[in-house]
């Protein structure tokens, strides 16, 4: 009897505290976003699965919803929900940039918008004493306190380009899905990732700059510094470089082949200034808004791809000013493209031999940390650069056993060098090479050091086996190859 009474009391107290909840103004600006997208099975690139993820968005001016770009690749359906409950509304992706990690959504149905209020961006992040994280949770607005840790520069969640990030800590769990971080009624930023109690936030002023540039058609993409530098903490290094006064700057140690220009930067240049900011021996500059930050941030602080930035360097006893044109961030710059978005996976099957491009999408078969987990030799290609003759790699990823490929069935994960004598960089090269068999044979040569370096198929028999193999393994088509331009080759 006593127990029952207690229970009743508890229930009562819950009801009464709910009744007392004040309206949180952010309830009118925060929406839930649901994204359904194609997820490809790289082991069977002809099959399709879907994945649905839920994240958050903030209503901004112009009947738009701001969120981060992560998951907006290969999208089949986007829906949004207001008030954390009730009806889902179909939304449209207006614009997204993965390197900036910014996405804009809208909802065409007018009935969605009444009652929603555009959030105001914080102009600066000078006062972060009352920061809260807000999000919808089971139909109610969850609002939790967060403590500021530091301003830092980190690689984007889906990009290799570093930019400003703010680290906070909080007891709220599972952040990183564009939850709004707010302060004094203004948006401070959106979360991008979390690690235990800590979470990272892209600051609102960055979103503001991107959106303003985008609205004016002036957003040319994220630029970055393609060279590699090392810190100059060792005073002997300055002596070696002939720099005699107070040590400053960092030293360039590597420049990618495409950037090696006569009037450009040189290996062992001591970088003294970037875009007017002095660089210290750790590679930091003093940012007027965020304090000491890594020089990498200067590629996006007030510039976009294609802009020219002035770098002052010390070279062979002289100070020089070098105009550095910011290259545009592109996943395809590397021999193994880091990501492949909004493209169906390419493949080609010949005589049961399955060939696929070796790119980030494929390598993620071994998980996001594929550089540690993939077979060593495959992952090591990521340390190698594109060359003039080879812009990409094609992999024998599996063999679908059939009488035509008897003797080869145990081989996989080896990289093509040539087919029928022609060097192979992309799927179009492969398809073209297969049109010219040598005396009725297809000759596949793999990279030096592979555990098999040559395979031969009878071209006519391979062709005859094609339908049999497709039927046997439930495959729709022996190939999917993108037109050359779309494939980014």
């Amino acid at each position: 009897m006593k127990k029952l009474f207690l229970l009743c009391l508890t229930l009562l107290s819950v009801v009464s505290s709910q009744a007392q909840l004040a309206h949180n103004p952010w309830e009118d600006s925060i929406v839930t976003v649901e994204i359904t997208r194609q997820r490809y099975d790289m082991g069977q690139p002809w099959t399709r699965q879907t994945a649905t993820d839920v994240k958050n968005g903030v209503v901004i001016d112009g009947k738009q919803i701001l969120t981060t770009a992560e998951f907006f690749n290969d999208v089949t359906l986007i829906r949004v929900q207001r008030n954390g409950r009730g009806r889902w509304w179909t939304a449209q992706l207006k614009w997204a940039d993965f390197h900036a990690n910014v996405a804009l959504l809208t909802v065409d149905e007018e009935k969605f918008w009444p009652g929603l209020k555009a959030a105001k961006f914080a102009n600066d992040l000078k006062d972060l004493s009352l920061v809260q994280v807000v999000r919808w949770r089971n139909g109610n607005m969850e609002s939790r306190k967060a403590e500021f840790n530091e301003f830092t520069v980190r690689e984007g969640k889906v990009s290799f380009v570093p930019s400003t990030s703010v680290t906070f800590s909080s007891d709220i769990e599972g952040l990183g899905w564009a939850e709004a971080v707010v302060n004094n009624g203004k948006l401070v930023g959106l979360t991008t990732s979390s690690d235990g109690r800590k979470f990272n936030v892209t600051p609102a002023p960055f979103f503001k700059r991107v959106l303003e540039a985008q609205a004016k058609g002036k957003f040319t993409g994220m630029g970055y510094f393609a060279f590699t530098w090392q810190q100059a903490l060792n005073p002997d290094m300055h002596k070696f470089l002939g720099w005699k006064t107070e040590p400053k700057g960092v030293v360039i140690i590597d420049i990618p082949p495409q950037e090696k220009k006569k009037d450009g930067l040189k290996v062992r240049d001591l970088i003294l200034k970037v875009d007017g900011f002095d660089i210290d021996i750790q590679g930091d500059y003093l940012d007027p808004d965020y304090g000491h930050l890594m020089l990498e941030n200067l590629s996006s602080r007030r510039h976009w791809a294609g802009d020219t930035i002035k770098l002052v360097v010390w070279r062979e006893g002289k100070e020089l000013t070098v105009d550095y044109k910011l290259p545009k961030a592109d996943y395809g710059t590397d021999l193994i493209p880091k990501e492949v978005f909004d493209r169906e996976p390419e493949y080609l099957i010949v005589g049961g031999l399955l060939f696929q491009p070796m790119d980030g999408a494929y390598m993620k078969r071994w998980g996001a940390d594929w550089k540690q987990r993939a077979p060593f030799r495959l992952a090591y290609y990521d340390n190698q650069s594109k060359s003039e003759e080879r812009a990409g790699l094609i992999l024998l990823s599996a063999i679908l056993p059939d009488p035509v490929n008897i003797g080869y069935q145990d081989y996989r994960f080896i990289v093509l060098d040539k087919v029928n004598g022609k060097l192979i960089s992309n799927m179009t090269d492969l398809a073209t090479a297969l049109e010219s068999p040598k005396d009725g044979f297809h000759i596949f040569e793999y990279m030096n050091g592979s555990n098999i370096q040559k395979m031969v198929l009878d071209a006519a028999q391979a062709k005859a086996a094609s339908i049999r193999i497709q039927n046997n393994y439930g495959i729709r088509g022996d190939r999917f190859i993108l037109p050359k331009q779309a494939a980014g080759h």
Binding site: L233, K239, F240, Y380, N405, G407, G449, K454, V456
Partner: protein
């Protein structure tokens, strides 16, 4: 008088019984060892104690496993039911096939012990008995089982070699190592390894490998097992056979790649098909029929001694041709496996410790970005870009902290490219590059990203002795 007679009789019976009681020729081997610390190569580990088994063979030698005696500082052997320990030393060792021969200084040791004869490869399903001193007790232990299968397996002691191996379900446990496997009073194997996680599987080294080792050392020096220096692949695809005009049967394995070994490149080229090696027909899956067992063709190439020729038949350009291939042992890949006997080479200058890149060194490193470049250098470069191989890639292993090097940002675990402009191909280059420097500063460049470091020459010279003293490093080098 009566007593004496009894003694004599006993003595007689002992002698007569030895051949039928091989356990009396089985000894316990105790090794006290110290292995090097590959990160600080002047240091050695704490003294460890291990036990194994050995057996007497002709020439008053004890045969055991190499891994039983490796890095041994003192080796003691105990006879069957004899409490005395005798001091033994290594006469010959083969780390690749995990065999060693020991000598005992005290001539009394061998009295009353008969050498066990080495027999032939036992047949699959026949019964064998192992004898040894495995963990779990002090006395000799016998286990019996059948020969389960015979094939080529990796020998884990070095880790980068594979030879003919016999699998048995007779229990083989730690301490059994080096013990004889007996059939009809003859040694048909030396117990040496097991497979964790598999039940009733023990492995022993067959007579072929034992005899090869014994013949090898007849000239007083160990050379090792030769290799053909080729990669072979199966030749089972009908189209590939047709392209090479090879008859449609089960014979022949294709040479996929020839390593840059002069003797091999002289005789063989890619797309040659090996039809016969020595006495063995080569199957289309790259195996041979060896005493009734299908085993890898490598067994045939391992039969000759270093430098000997083996007759081969190859299919080239649609014709069968006969040739002979001279076979040599390969020592260039030693750093890719576990190494023994020779303490690691190193040179310490200004507190910077330089040592050759090896698998022994790499195993002590966490897998991080810079180790990928090392692993490539160690195991892939030779196969992929043989023309760019360095004789002995060198790593800056660690930096012993001292004011002279305190500002160096590189603190170790990096591959060295150049020092003072000199390309580093071996450890001696490091010494020369520092010694011959004329400028005020030493410049060290690292792989793979072109990072570099500078250190004042005079300061480093001056500090070197003090650093050795501070860290108790007995010598600045071991070459």
């Amino acid at each position: 008088m009566k007593r004496l007679l009894a003694c004599l009789l006993l003595g007689l019976s002992l002698t007569a019984a030895t051949a039928a009681e091989p356990e009396k020729s089985v000894v316990q081997v105790m090794t006290f060892s110290q292995s090097p610390d590959w990160m600080a190569p002047w240091r050695q580990s704490q003294v460890g104690r291990g036990t194994g088994t050995g057996f007497v063979i002709k020439g008053k030698k004890i045969m055991t496993n190499a891994h039983v005696i490796s890095w041994g500082k003192q080796i003691l052997v105990k006879r069957y039911q004899d409490p005395r320990p005798y001091r033994a030393k290594v006469a010959f060792v083969s780390h690749e096939c995990d065999l060693a021969l020991l000598e005992v200084e005290d001539p009394d040791f061998f009295s009353g012990m008969e050498a066990l004869p080495i027999g032939e490869l036992p047949e699959v399903r026949s019964t064998v008995t192992t004898m040894g001193y495995p963990a779990g007790g002090e006395q000799i232990s016998f286990t019996r089982g059948v020969v389960s299968r015979i094939e080529v397996q990796g020998y884990v002691h070095m880790g980068n070699r594979a030879f003919l191996t016999v699998q048995t379900d007779a229990a083989i446990n730690p301490g059994n190592s080096g013990g004889p496997v007996i059939q009809d009073d003859k040694v048909v194997g030396v117990a040496f390894q097991g497979t964790p996680g598999l039940e009733n599987t023990g492995f022993f080294i067959p007579p072929q490998i034992i005899k090869h080792f014994l013949k090898d050392i007849e000239d007083g020096k160990y050379d090792g097992f030769p290799r053909a220096g080729i990669s072979l692949t199966a030749m089972q695809n009908p189209a590939f056979r047709k392209l090479l005009k090879l008859p449609d049967n089960d014979v022949g394995a294709r040479v996929d790649n020839v390593l840059p070994i002069e003797s091999s490149q002289k005789v063989l080229k890619e797309d040659d098909v090996l039809l016969q090696v020595g006495d063995y027909r080569v199957g289309s899956d790259g195996t041979i029929l060896y005493h009734g067992n299908r085993v890898s063709l490598s067994v045939a190439f391992q039969e000759p001694q270093n430098g000997e020729f083996i007759p081969i038949k190859i299919w080239r350009d649609g014709k069968e041709i006969s040739s002979k291939l001279q076979l040599f042992t390969d020592t260039e890949d030693l750093p890719t496996g576990s190494q023994y006997d020779v303490l690691p080479r190193y040179y310490v200058y200004g507190g910077m410790v330089f040592t050759p890149l090896s698998m022994d060194y790499m195993r002590r490193l966490p897998r991080v970005g810079s180790t990928a470049a090392m692993l490539y250098e160690l195991t892939y470069r030779r196969r992929e870009k043989p023309e760019t191989v360095r004789e002995e890639p060198i790593v800056l292993s660690t930096v012993m902290a001292h004011p002279v090097n305190a500002n160096l940002q590189v603190r170790g675990a990096v591959l060295v490219d150049k020092i003072n402009g000199i390309k580093i191909n071996k450890l001696e280059d490091v010494i020369r590059a520092f010694a011959e420097a004329k400028t005020d500063q030493h410049i060290m460049e690292f792989l793979p990203n072109g990072g570099f470091e500078c250190i004042e020459r005079k300061d480093a010279d001056a500090a070197s002795v003090e650093i050795l003293k501070t860290y108790n490093i007995p010598s600045d080098r071991r070459l």
